[in-house]
Amino acid sequence: DGASSNGLSPEMIYRYSRHLLLPNFGVSGQQNLLNSSILVVGAGGLGSPALLYLAACGVGRLGIVDHDLVELNNMHRQIIHTETYIGQPKVKSAASACRSVNSSIQVVEHQEALRTSNALEIFSKYPCNSNNNMAIFFCFNLVFLIFLSFFILLSILPLIHYDHMFTIMWILMISMTEHFVRYDIIVDATDNAPTRYMISDCCVVLGKPLVSGAALGLEGQLTVYNYNGGPCYRCLFPTPPPTTACQRCADSGVLGVVPGIIGCLQALEAIKIAASVGEPLSGRMLLFDALSARIRIVKIRGRSLQCEACGENSKFTQQQFREFDYENFTQTPLSVSPLKLNL
């Protein structure tokens, strides 16, 4: 299919030439990106730029989770959506934009609210019951692969030594598991406290790094959780804040470009982890103040031994995750309708 020795097709070499030229990134960085899979939870203010840049840079598989519809009052900051998509699902609008920027990557739509009942499956497994065409196509692929594997195995059976049997079967199993293991990296681009706890816990349970961004008013925050022995969200915030301290953009407002900046920085951190370049923002937190144009990057605590999610004696299992009541824990609903604005 015209792939050259470095595994990149001529079209890819042309498309990603500015990345390939980079001494600190190069062919290996791009190959890592193309082999990676990243899930962005939330296609709103943070998700818009994060998704566009992740699609453009060549992440192999890009997933989008959102249950909302595009509204006119999103348009001031959610630049991935166009006016023609008003009233339609954000996931559909965002996926279409990602594909129009880069048709060579796989974009997966998860048009549903993230809940404890589906988070583990969305983050880690291939949902064969998805109503997504691409998903069905991949399931077919998978069944085909299993059949092919057995056929090959049977045909070469007389030729191989008994000891090698297990190695071959193991390799086949791993290659098949690849189709099930869903996302390497999770990007939290959501807008409320219970979802943030839920995403972090799910990442801890599944051992996935989490790129977490937040923006409100004229400020933004960014860090990487659960990466390489670093802290998780609960290590920093073991007790949820009072509900009065959990303002949302819909209630308190946000300058559109502030989540834009944080979302771009989230894409950068996810790219660095996926491509294995540079030092991700783990154990550090970026604090952004738009009005005064001041940015602090501060050192934060490491993993807490007492953490209920990731601590030494923690037994936070998949089963416990499924049963945890995040709305009750934070005294905040996972999703609510915005307040009406009276001017």
Partner: protein, 99 residues
Amino acid sequence: MQLTLEFGGGLELLCDSKKIHNVNVEQQNGEEKLTMKDLLSWVRTNLIKERPEMFMKEDTVRPGVLVLVNDCDWELSGQLSTSLEEKDVVVFISTLHGG
């Protein structure tokens, strides 16, 4: 003792919407060193103008507030027992959840 105190993530609303406060905090009871515990009670008395429960809970900051002494999480320097020095910068920032 000259200190720079910064409030962010909405906490500035509790002290006249002013983010940066250059303050002079005197050690009490003739004690030699000033700790974060002393500073917290000083802030509560002198800077917080409304809703103190949005800043403190019992004798420490409320859940969801990060405290940074010279750009470093106070968990790394001993939390309430962190002792402060001349010209230190202490940041109180409320974590954001929006997007």
